[in-house]
């Protein structure tokens, strides 16, 4: 299980550095000229706000225990769930690469089968129905977007 307390601290620290980067970029864009806010004015204050709030959250997260977090509805995350999230995201990213290689229409059919395998049970009946749904959706999507809406699919 990934401890959500630890993740909360790490993310807060990253946000503090991110806020500092935004402040630095904001100064580079120019804060003001002749009393008039420049392009960096808003990003500067957004960065400052992020640094302050993320620092407060990092401090709070450091001093909280698991029971408090559970009371706030924040549960530890099973590694299997993280694997599923990364897997599904990787499949969608792979679709992008595949679409340029074989076209969007075949690629979306394959993606639907893969996503179904991630979220669904693994038995023959499920895969048979999923394949039929994937074929139907591929045709519907092609007809709707390419023909009706005139979208130039890859």
């Amino acid at each position: 299980m990934l401890q959500v307390r630890r993740l909360d601290i790490y993310v807060s620290v990253i946000l503090v550095f991110f806020g500092a980067w935004i402040v630095y970029q904001g100064v580079g864009y120019g804060l003001a000229e002749g009393g008039v806010p420049g392009g960096g004015f808003f990003p500067f204050w957004v960065g400052v706000g992020l640094i302050v709030c993320a620092s407060v959250n990092a401090y709070r997260a450091f001093h909280r225990d698991g029971a408090t977090l559970a009371g706030l509805g924040l549960e530890n995350i099973p590694y299997s769930e993280i694997g599923k999230v990364l897997g599904a995201s990787a499949l969608m990213a792979a679709f992008i690469v595949l679409a340029f290689a074989i076209g969007m229409t075949p690629a979306i059919f394959l993606l639907m089968l893969a996503i179904g395998a991630v979220f669904g049970p693994r038995n023959f009946r499920f895969y048979a129905v999923l394949t039929a749904i994937a074929v139907a959706m591929t045709v519907i999507l092609y007809f709707t977007f390419a023909n009706l809406l005139g979208v130039p699919l890859i």
Binding site: G35, P43, S89, M92
Partner: protein, 504 residues
């Protein structure tokens, strides 16, 4: 006023012609489906239908395009409730309680109230449009950059109401949203900001891409894998019908949401999204049980749905009466008017009264027709939503990907949506509310433009913000939004301490 209603009756009669009725039905059905598609909103719907619609007769063309607009408002709520994906930015607030209701097995009740709220909001918006079009248009001119800045500050302060239980994380999400809104070309100086050297970011982050990632993909990623034994929900057609009892129980939120939606929608640039956020926050504030908001409160669906439909008619006032498009959708609608040879503006009412009142009449007919169309089509959409995740998610992800791709014909947008999906998943696991992020993305750029334009015009003199009575009134309401709950809390604590001391 009598003349106005006489003209409207004439318009209703003219709009009842078969050709115009057909145009309304076609536009409404297309709008409903487009509104339900993540990534495609009313602006895209109106733009897509524009080349087809202008080949109709002039009045039928605008009636069809208008029907797409308000049809999309109905459709956006369907996926917001059933799948937790806002079809358009104005359906974002509907997700908060509507999707929770669906998870609790009350999808039918949520859909029913959204249809009723959309109809009532649309009807109130239409009545106000009919009665006050020219009068309100004159008042709307009084809203300049200073007043818009005040309104945006007020809207952003709603994070205190909309941000959930953790204000620190709500403000972090808000700041992230405002930062996302700064990506792209600086609106005043024109230089690129936070573009990471990629020209595809010059136009900034499209809201639809963020919404489908943050709300749609994130929700699916957070769902555990389903097994064969999980039962699919069953529903009856009657359960999907709007119930009078539910509608009557939300009468306050329906009226307040409609009024807020209409008057905010009138303001050029404010938009239906800001209207839904303000109406939701107002409903939560006024509720005797504010703790239910965010957990499946009926009022949490009624208020924003009434607001976004009323706002769609409010936004037509600047277009028809002044020739100023109040939103992206009305800008495209205005293009349609120009393509059929009509110049929107004050003279349109004088030179083409029959056209204007027939179009208004078509809006009344379309608003009523959409109730029936939505009720008839909702079981089909609801059946899809109750599929097992193993079947449903591949369908939704495929539609989302195609919808996002169709915005700019770019896989870069699809990659962004996937990225936001992962961010949204992380936010949900760590307790960061997504609504403030959306608030920041949409309202942040408007606030920045308002402040900087005002200070450019006043040569940096900040006192101009305090010279407008309208702006001062809005600032006062904003301060009251923070101060009053704090004072009431302090008073309650003092009373509690006094009671404890008395008992001791």
């Amino acid at each position: 006023m009598t003349e106005t209603w006489t003209l409207l009756l004439g318009g209703l009669s003219a709009a009842s012609e078969p050709s115009i009725l057909m145009a309304i039905m076609v536009g409404a059905v297309i709008g409903l489906f487009i509104g339900a598609l993540p990534g495609l909103g009313p602006t895209a719907g109106v733009a897509i239908l524009l080349p087809v619609a202008v080949s109709f007769d002039g009045t039928a063309a605008i009636a069809a395009l208008g029907a797409v607009y308000y049809g999309a408002q109905y459709g956006g709520a369907v996926t917001a409730i059933l799948l937790g994906i806002p079809g358009d930015s104005s359906a974002t607030m509907t997700v908060i309680d509507g999707y929770q209701m669906a998870k609790q097995g009350k999808a039918g009740i949520a859909l029913g109230i959204s249809v009723a709220a959309s109809f009532i909001g649309g009807l109130i918006g239409l009545v106000l449009l009919t009665a006050f079009a020219t009068t309100i248009a004159k008042a709307a001119i009084a809203f300049g950059p200073i007043e818009m800045t005040a309104l945006m500050i007020f809207s952003l302060s709603l994070v205190s109401v909309l941000g959930g239980a953790d204000p620190v994380k709500a403000f972090i999400a808000l700041f992230l949203g405002v930062w996302l809104g700064t990506i792209g070309l600086d609106p005043i100086m024109g230089m690129p900001r936070f573009d990471f050297g990629d020209v595809r970011l010059f136009d900034g982050i499209e809201f639809s891409i963020l919404a489908v990632g943050l709300f749609g993909l994130a929700e699916m990623l957070a769902t555990p894998a389903a097994d064969e034994s999980s039962a699919t929900a069953r529903f009856r057609f009657r359960e999907l019908l709007p119930k009078i009892r539910d509608t009557l129980s939300c009468w306050r939120e329906l009226i307040s949401g409609s009024l807020i939606g209409f008057f905010v929608g009138v303001l050029p640039g404010a938009g239906a999204t800001a209207a839904t956020m303000i109406s939701y926050a107002f409903a939560k504030r006024q509720s005797k049980h504010p703790e239910t908001f965010g957990n499946g409160a009926l009022e949490g669906v009624a208020a924003p749905e009434a607001a976004n439909n009323a706002a769609s008619y409010g936004s037509m006032i600047p277009m028809f009466a002044l020739g100023i498009p109040g939103s992206g959708t009305t800008a495209v609608l205005m293009g349609g008017l120009l393509m059929i040879g009509l110049q929107p503006g004050p003279m349109l009412f004088a030179t083409q009264p029959a056209f204007v009142w027939t179009v208004f009449g078509s809006f009344y007919i379309g608003n009523l027709a959409l109730v029936a169309i939505t009720i008839l089509l909702t079981p089909l959409l609801a059946a899809c939503a109750f599929l097992k995740p193993g079947y449903l998610y591949p369908i939704v992800i495929a539609v989302v990907i195609y919808g996002v791709f169709s915005i700019n014909y770019s896989m870069f947008d699809v990659a962004l949506a996937i990225g936001f999906g992962v961010v949204g998943y992380l936010m949900s696991k760590l307790g960061y509310p997504p609504v403030p992020l959306v608030l920041g993305l949409i309202l942040g750029p408007m606030l920045e433009r308002g402040i900087r334009r005002t200070l450019v015009a006043s040569d940096g003199d900040i006192s101009v913000f305090f010279m407008s009575p309208i702006a001062l009134a809005i600032f006062a309401i904003t301060i009251a939004l923070f101060a009053v709950p704090l004072l009431m809390k302090r008073r309650a604590k003092a009373k509690e301490s006094a009671a404890l001391a008395a008992n001791a």
